[in-house]
């Protein structure tokens, strides 16, 4: 009974805050895993925050905590934002999941948005992005552009999001050149420029002539530029680090979502949800296709149009797993659960995943 009363009170207070106190600004908090200047993951979330301020600056006030580790500190940081009066909190790393759930229980009148997780509650939404859609296009471009027929893939840490990317890249490449090869190097870190540069050099020394990365720094792009080969950016448009090097980049675009969800809190229509959006909804944006011949550019744009319209999904059968077993039959498409938990390679990739 008491719980119900609390919930009612909370609901009422939210409605109250939304309607009567329109002149009082809504406080929106962000928790970042890295520094906003990383030019990768956190940078894009911070761009979203800035876009939110630009769009609703007269109604919202934003705060962020940077470099929050994914251990015991996450819970305190999130709670601090909740206590500081933030009514909407975006937690922008997978590892904050359980901390978000705990704090959300304590603050029923605060709305939480957790990026890339899978646990939801009355006041907790999760949002995720189909980055892999862009990887498919990159794979196609790589297969067209590579003379050696082999691309280097600098991977961060083996989680489904990264595995999806590798598989999708490979499928895209195979759609152009069935014998295409991908060399994968794990650096076991999201952000270690020195190591990423070393990995890029090692891959180039082994004969790859296209580099793609699922790590956040621009080091690999710089190495590719220095060695005169082509590369794909990650998370942000990295063109200024490789004006004659970058083919395209998958840009994480969180701005529309942050604005939409904040508006929902402002007008009292916020509901818990679980979204997994891609190109169609504008979560995944491709940086301009540069440094490639027109026919390759045309192919990339066509694929992008098909993915955006929903006419084509990268994980469409027939697809075999690495061990040769059938994953998807002809015409079959993968469901979201299979994609979100992906921990196997498709056929043609030589690397092994830790099991």
């Amino acid at each position: 009974m008491r719980k119900m009363f609390l919930a009612l009170a909370a609901a009422a207070s939210v409605a109250f805050a939304g309607a009567a106190h329109a002149e009082e600004k809504l406080k929106v908090g962000f928790i970042y895993i890295g520094p906003p200047g990383d030019f990768g993951w956190t940078y894009q979330h911070d761009q979203g925050r800035k876009a939110l301020e630009a769009a609703l600056g007269d109604k919202v006030e934003t705060t962020y905590l940077e470099n929050v580790p994914e251990g015991a500190d996450a819970e305190r940081s999130i709670e601090r934002l909740a206590r500081a009066g933030n009514k909407l909190i975006f937690a922008t790393s997978f590892g904050y999941m359980d901390a978000v759930m705990k704090v959300a229980k304590k603050f029923p009148d605060v709305k939480f948005e957790h990026a890339t997780g899978y646990k939801t509650a009355e006041n907790v939404s999760v949002y995720n992005s189909r980055f892999y859609e862009g990887r498919y296009i990159q794979g196609q471009i790589a297969a067209k552009m590579s003379k050696a027929g082999v691309a280097g893939y600098i991977a961060s840490v083996p989680i489904p999001e990264v595995v999806q990317g590798i598989n999708s890249f490979m499928l895209g490449a195979q759609s152009v050149n069935p014998d295409f090869k991908v060399k994968v190097v794990w650096v076991n870190s999201w952000f270690d420029p020195g190591k990423e540069a070393d990995a890029a050099k090692a891959l180039i020394d082994q004969g790859v002539d296209i580099i793609t990365q699922h790590t956040d720094s621009t080091a690999a792009m710089q190495v590719a530029a220095e060695r005169g080969i082509k590369a794909f950016g990650q998370a942000s448009d990295m063109i200024k680090f490789g004006p004659t090097t970058q083919l395209t980049s998958i840009v994480d675009n969180w701005s529309p979502y942050y604005i939409e969800r904040t508006k929902a809190v402002l007008d009292g229509t916020w509901k818990s949800q679980n979204v997994f959006h891609g190109m169609k909804e504008g979560f995944v944006v491709m940086a301009p296709y540069t440094n490639m011949p027109d026919d390759v550019k045309k192919m990339a744009e066509e694929t992008q149009a098909k993915i955006t319209s929903g006419a084509f999904k990268p994980f469409t059968g027939p697809i075999k797993k690495q061990d040769g077993s059938v994953w998807l039959k002809q015409g079959e498409t993968a469901d979201d659960a299979a994609i979100l938990g992906m921990n196997f390679y498709v056929a043609g990739i030589d690397d092994k995943l830790p099991q």
Partner: protein, 306 residues
Amino acid sequence: MEMTQAILLTVATAATPLLIAAMGELVVERSGVLNLGVEGMMVMGAVTAFVVAQMTGSAWLGMVAAILAGAAFSLLFGFLTLTLVTNQVASGLALTILGLGVSAMIGESYVGLPGIRMEPIHIPGLSQLPLVGQFLFGQDPIFYLSILLTVGVSWFLFRTRAGLTLRAIGDNPGSAHALGAHVVRIRYLAVLFGGACAGLAGAQLSLVYVPQWVENMTAGRGWIALALVVFASWRPWRVLAGAYLFGAVTIGQLHAQALGLGLPSQFLSALPYLATILVLVLISRNRRSTMINTPASLGKPFVPDR
């Protein structure tokens, strides 16, 4: 480009900052002072080099500034441990923590900017020689400095009178003092030299290795440099060998991955550290030879009696 030479170049780039920082620390330790703040001085060098290069547009000025910054920062350690005779281990650690914090603060607005690369030199003809041309004649200036440094330190320590004094101070500051050596002053100079080298090593990171600035970009290289000094039993040429060996293992593990050997990548990533431990054990097993080279008063404070 031939693959062997390409790999050699990659190894050289990875080994150079370790070599430079370790060479500086070697001189410091030979004078009997243990400065665990290499990481902190190095990261200060990295941020200074980047910021100054951005402001002036010159990588060379960035490098000079980094050397000065490293030396200036080491002065803090010198004042504490030499003038105020505080615990050297603790003071060195404090220097590292402070360096990581201050550099992150200074560099905050410089993250995510394309840096200014220190261009490799190019000698027409020689640089294009097959196999070793680029390795010998086409690298960045800091690489050549690192080799010069090795030659210079080796010559200084074992061929000059000042070097002899420095080593004597490291072994027995009491008698050196009695014989008229300026123990504290020479140790100050050694610490400054170590700081300057660490600063230069940092400059290599942000001007050559990856021309950009991110906080904590030294990523433990200062600690590896410290390990190399012990590994080398305080002998300059062995530092060079150790730095290249470590660089080779680091790069080798990435190649092993790219070849698709199927080993867990975490194991391969841990390999350089395991290899360091193994080599340290092998080196130090022979107690007598380590004893001969270890500065006998390493880490012990010295206050002249009056």
